[in-house]
């Protein structure tokens, strides 16, 4: 990483806070289950059940209380962190992959047509028209419709559905970046020198969009964590009893008459994680390209 960028990053307080949160999240998700010996799936009928079948609040046996089926809330929170992280990062990677491929292809071949002059088909045109149409669909409804079509929701299906519907914005940004890079002198020069298209793409275009990609990727992790939790809230995400923050909020809302503490933990967790990734992403953006944001 460019040392100046690193310096800028280090001096940005928001970016450091974001990094801290993300690291904390990763640590908790990775280590807490083993360290704390938590079990998110077992109902505790002794210490976890209150009068007449109601769940218990924060207590010695259950630090964050129990949910309506008497499972430890803290355990579910931590396991939910794992899930959110995995889905967020993986779906973001997928979305980045597709979006970059589409954007680079469109941007690099922008202006060039194939086929007879009468048709004027261009790869750029086709891809970008597709992106335009795709952007017309309301995201959540689209995800819902696809998700509901796949009756069985596993981590994979959620991942793929989210990743394959959120690359459109990335494609646009990558495309404009590619166009900018393509017309730079040294790139034209290497093309003139006979470098193959693939080499040009890999050696020149990709590295220069790398910074943008990292920023986009980080911010898209934040957005995908939000999207996944919205899906689970609508009951279209991972099937229970797998713990998922959005679903915990749905359960919490159903029962906030008897157990309002069920809302606080998952809500705070989502908020914190998304904020962390957003801060990190913005910090990275400020570090890579200070011109893009006000000082």
């Amino acid at each position: 990483m460019d040392p100046r960028a690193l310096r800028r990053f280090r001096s940005n307080r928001g970016a450091l806070v974001g990094t801290g949160i993300v690291l904390l999240l990763v640590l908790v998700a990775a280590l807490a289950p083993a360290v704390l010996g938590l079990d998110p799936m077992t109902s505790d009928f002794d210490a976890g059940q209150g009068a007449e079948g109601a769940p218990v609040g924060p207590s010695a046996a259950h630090w964050l209380g129990t949910d309506t089926v008497y499972r430890d809330q803290l355990a579910r929170l931590v396991y939910g962190a794992r899930l959110s992280l995995v889905i967020g990062v993986a779906a973001s990677a997928l979305s980045l992959l597709i979006g970059t491929a589409a954007g680079v292809l469109a941007g690099y071949w922008q202006g060039r047509t194939i086929g007879p002059a009468a048709l004027r088909l261009s790869l750029d045109g086709i891809i970008m028209r597709f992106v335009d149409i795709g952007l017309c669909f309301p995201f959540l409804i689209l995800v819902m419709a696809i998700g509901a079509a796949l009756d069985e929701t596993t981590v994979w299906t959620v991942l793929i559905v989210l990743g394959s519907t959120s690359w459109l914005g990335t494609a646009r940004i990558v495309r404009s970046q590619t166009m900018r890079v393509r017309d730079l002198d040294y790139v034209t020069a290497s093309r003139a020198l006979g470098e193959g298209t693939a080499m040009v793409l890999v050696r020149h275009v990709l590295p220069s969009v790398a910074g943008t990609l990292i920023v986009l990727g980080t911010i898209s992790v934040a957005q995908l964590i939000l999207a996944e939790s919205a899906l689970s809230y609508l009951n279209l995400g991972l099937a229970p009893p797998t713990p998922s923050w959005g679903h915990m909020l749905l359960e919490g809302q159903r029962d906030y008459a008897s157990a309002p503490w069920l809302l606080a933990a998952p809500g705070g967790a989502i908020l914190l994680s998304v904020m962390g990734f957003n801060l990190l992403g913005e910090g990275l953006r400020d570090a890579f390209d200070p011109r893009e944001s006000p000082p």
Binding site: G14, Q110, G111, D124, G125, M128, R129, V131, D132, I133, L135, C136, F137, P138, F139, L140, I141, L142, M144, A145, I146, A148, A149, D151, A222, L226, S229, A230, Y233, L234, L236, G246, L249, G252, Q253, Y256, A257, P260, L263, G267, I270, L271, V274, M275, N278, L279, S293, P294
Partner: protein, 336 residues
Amino acid sequence: MVAKVARRLTWAIVSIWAVVTLAFFLNHGLPADPARAIAGPQARPADVARIRTQLGLDRSVWVQYRLFAARLVHRAPSETGVKGHASCEPLGPLHLDLGTSYQRRRPVIRVIADRFPRTFYLALSALVVQVALGVAAGVVAAARRHSIWDRGAVTMALLGISTPTFLLGILLQYVFAYRLRWLPLDGYGVTASDHVASIVLPALTLGIVGAAYYTKLVRSDMIDVLRQDFVRTARAKGVGPIGVVVRHALRNALLPLVTVIGLDFGVLIGGAVVTEKLFRWPGVGQLSVDAVFDRDAPVVLGVVIVTSSAIVLANLLVDLSYALLDPRTKAAGTDG
């Protein structure tokens, strides 16, 4: 100019057609049996089979698409009372037909049209809240750089984009509707005063979260504008800070703001799904969630078509107004 408008219009129509087709085939992939859904779980199998034939679900997908597309927009029949137009909605000389809802047994267009005004009401209210809060916060933040207001606004904006809408909604509902009972829990209400009381929480939910984006946008735009020469000139001439902000800076920052508002409105129409579900707001968003779970394919299809068309139209309007407001600017998009 006219050519440009014509091109945009044509593209909008093509977009809507592409959206419709894509949505139809996507929807056809929903693997479920609406005939069983209508007959109910207690019905005997022979009766379900009969209902399936009645609905025309035993034909091939291409035939169904052809029938669907032909019915979607067609000319009104010359005489009234012609059979087969039960689910049509007249629009001048044309009929629009999105089929009949499996579960509700009413024309899809009527079902959506009944609910669309309420989503519109919500989107508008949310937009008002968003813009008011966002612009105010952005202006204050830009005018008072590096002050506590600026930092506060930036933090609130960060919180806004990091909060899931349903979390904020649940909290607002818990505090104001459940504990304090100042506002209705959910729903739309029956009387006019009910409607006004019921919109508060959903609009605030959508508005506070959305205001974050506006805050950031307005703040950065205003900062750019405030740095420019003509503003310095005005300050030097003795124009007070508020005058500068309102008369000069804001006006210049207006154009991108209008663009965003226009696009945002289209997105709000489609995207308030979670808020509508949370507050049981009887709008198009809640309809879509219910229809997806009901496997009510015509309604899902209808909602996707209507909301996508709304977004296409919003884009179109924004493009046109952009071109009108600032003819020097190339229309944003993919002309290259």
